[in-house]
Amino acid sequence: MFRTMTFPKKGVILTLLLIVMLLAMIACGGAAAPAQEAAAPSEPEAAVQEEAPAAEAEEVEEVAAEVQEIDLTFWTFVDAHADFFLKQAERFNAAHPEVVIKLEPTVIDYQDMHDKLLIALQSGTGAPDLVDIEIAKFGTFMRGDIQLHDLTPLIERSGKDLVIERMAPYQGGGQQYGVDYHLGALVMYYNKELLDQAGVDVDSIVTWDDYIEAGKKVKEETGAWMATIETTDKWSVSPLMQENGGGVYDKDGNLILDSPANAEALQLLSDMFHVHQILTVAPGGYHHSPEYYAMMNDGDKVASVWMPQWFMIRFKEFMPDLKGKMVVRPLPAFEEGGMISTMGGGTGTAITKQIDPEKLDAAMEFLEFAKLTREAQVLIWTDLGFDPYRLDVYDDTELNNPDEYFSNEPVMQTIKGMLDRLTPEYNGPRYPEAQQQIREKIAYGLFEENKPPADLLSTAQGEIEAMQ
């Protein structure tokens, strides 16, 4: 039939075919994540009636019969976070029958997700309603016209019960833009069995000087290293810098990389590594490498490591042989009575300005329900294994349970005991670049190249200040 058609008809059909093909190519080449969601069945918004204003309160019964359906898209880079939010959506819907939240999470690889989010916000289209932004990437989204909604009202409602410092990394210009999953308290993980073998009492380690003495004894008696350090990631240098009152930014938003507090902390690390020789480089260069897990898991090569609380999850998952041998303690202090912990890592959930304005209130209410209420914070420990940052939660039975892995001690109570001696971490516009400096040059330069801390820090400060 096609063959016998006269040419004009063929021409029209061919041209249409070509156009369809072109459109298909362009559509398929577009952003992957939204396309994936388009494939999933999407509910038509049945927003029959807006929330009744207070003046019409007498018609409450009539209004309650209308159910408002809200579709919320959510991007994250951690499967566990997506699962957590889905569960919270279910609980929210059960608690609020007049609203049905339909959450559509998409898990995208860490680098990719942040890049796509940036492009979507820059081009004004394609961004999700809710999104997880990791702390080291948050600064990038605080530049120029901030494309995230102000979440300050949420904090005002729940604020008095929160460890308010935990909100600091996700603030800009005095407004709150993100809500974290956890506190991220820094702790020291000791292999108590190994310490006992060396004749060291873990609770006698109060200051870094005590730690050094203990380290020497461990090395002498058992030949093991006191701890491993990272040369390609920040977890060895950043916590000590912060604990000593330094860090990347101060509370006023000044870049303080070259501060004396930082230099002092780095000098301590340098001495522990080069002079006292109680530290060794983690195999693979960082604490998330399989070789490191294997080395630590052997139980006789390394006595301790300092990492954030969420590293507990890695212990349980990747170092099973250490079950029952590990204990969690605060960091040694720089001086008696000084700070014994700080914060590390984190991911802030934010609401983008590309959300349909009619959904904003519901989304904010949902976010508060999912992360800031007492019940939510208990779930953060029981479901995600993270340390909550609501003070009243630490009295809950769930947070008083002994942890079999960590020598049957109630680990969360140990953390509770640190909460008032915990230095906060401040964010700022060049925080992401500072992280790169710390990972690539400061950590590496300090341990592998034995460079003087002051030089490393002033170079880093200078390069970042010079940035456009």
Partner: protein, 298 residues
């Protein structure tokens, strides 16, 4: 058929353009217009959404004084030089060896050596980060010949060598195919004549094969040069986000990517891109000139 009855789009002079239109549209939009935009952006300072200001040559001046750029340039040049040496000599020798008839079932070897070219770069990165790990395959092999285990992915000085190992594994097969096709074009009579005159195998190789392969060698070198300077995926995958130890693996494109996506400075990133394109262009022209590409064959 008389001229007046042929519809406009069917005329012989018009039809080619009709068929070219789809390609032209895509090319103009995604290539030409994108490049123009990038050049325009390179003269602007962007600090986030909605803050774009004209800065003239400010970005270029800053780049000129940026130590991180020079580190990236050094790393990239080091890497490209390495690939130019390794990825010409090894494939050429292998191609000649397989073509010479000294090896039985040469086709099987050619296929096996070509397979790495077909693998996804991301998969290669993931697998090689295991192979190059301290307890990985490569260190085991080195141990067999008495060489101590190297910390390939943790040491600044070994970052580029590690990537050269991956590049050699991956691209040898492709360059070998190019050289093989070039070898097929050399007449057997030349070899026979040389053999009669008493030339040894090696002499035939250096005085006949290599000179007559010159066009192919120039071609492969140009491709290798361009590809080398565009190094991105390997450092990006081997070290999360391209954060290599001591910046030993920082390539120009990784630097560009960071400026765009971490610093959100699209203007400066475009500047880096424009400068990179100019560098590649100049180096390619120099290389072509050096190898007599522009001279007429005698």
């Amino acid at each position: 058929m008389t001229k007046t009855s042929v519809p406009f789009f069917h005329r012989p002079k018009v039809v080619p353009f009709v068929f070219l239109t789809p390609f032209l549209i895509i090319f103009l939009v995604f290539r030409v217009w994108a490049v123009i935009q990038a050049v325009v952006l390179s003269f602007q300072k962007v600090q986030g959404v909605g803050s774009t200001e004209w800065t003239g040559v400010g970005n270029y001046q800053f780049l000129f004084n940026d130590p991180t750029f020079y580190k990236a340039l050094f790393n990239t040049a080091y890497y490209t030089t390495g690939t130019l040496i390794l990825l010409i000599i090894i494939p050429l020798t292998l191609a000649a060896l397989l073509y010479s008839g000294l090896v039985k079932k040469a086709g099987v070897f050619r296929t096996v050596l070509f397979l790495p070219v077909l693998t996804s770069l991301v998969v290669v990165g993931v697998v090689f980060s295991l192979i190059l790990s301290p307890g990985g395959l490569l260190n085991s092999w080195l141990g067999l010949v008495g060489i101590p285990a190297q910390r390939w992915l943790e040491t600044a000085d070994l970052a580029i060598p590690a990537m050269l190992i991956i590049a050699t594994w991956r691209w040898t097969g492709l360059n070998m195919i190019y050289f093989t096709s070039g070898l097929a074009n050399i007449s057997r009579d030349l070899y026979d004549a040389a053999a009669i005159d008493g030339a040894s195998g090696l002499q035939r190789f250096f005085y006949i094969t290599v000179p007559l392969l010159r066009p192919i060698i120039i071609f492969v070198m140009t491709l290798t040069l361009i590809g080398g300077f565009q190094l991105f995926v390997e450092p990006f995958i081997l070290w999360s986000g391209g954060a290599s130890p001591g910046q030993g693996g920082l390539s120009i494109v990784v630097f560009l990517y960071r400026t765009a996506f971490t610093s959100f400075n699209l203007g400066y990133a475009s500047t880096i891109g424009v400068v990179l394109a100019l560098i590649i262009m100049v180096l390619s022209l120099v290389q072509l000139r050096l190898f007599g590409f522009f001279k007429k064959e005698a």
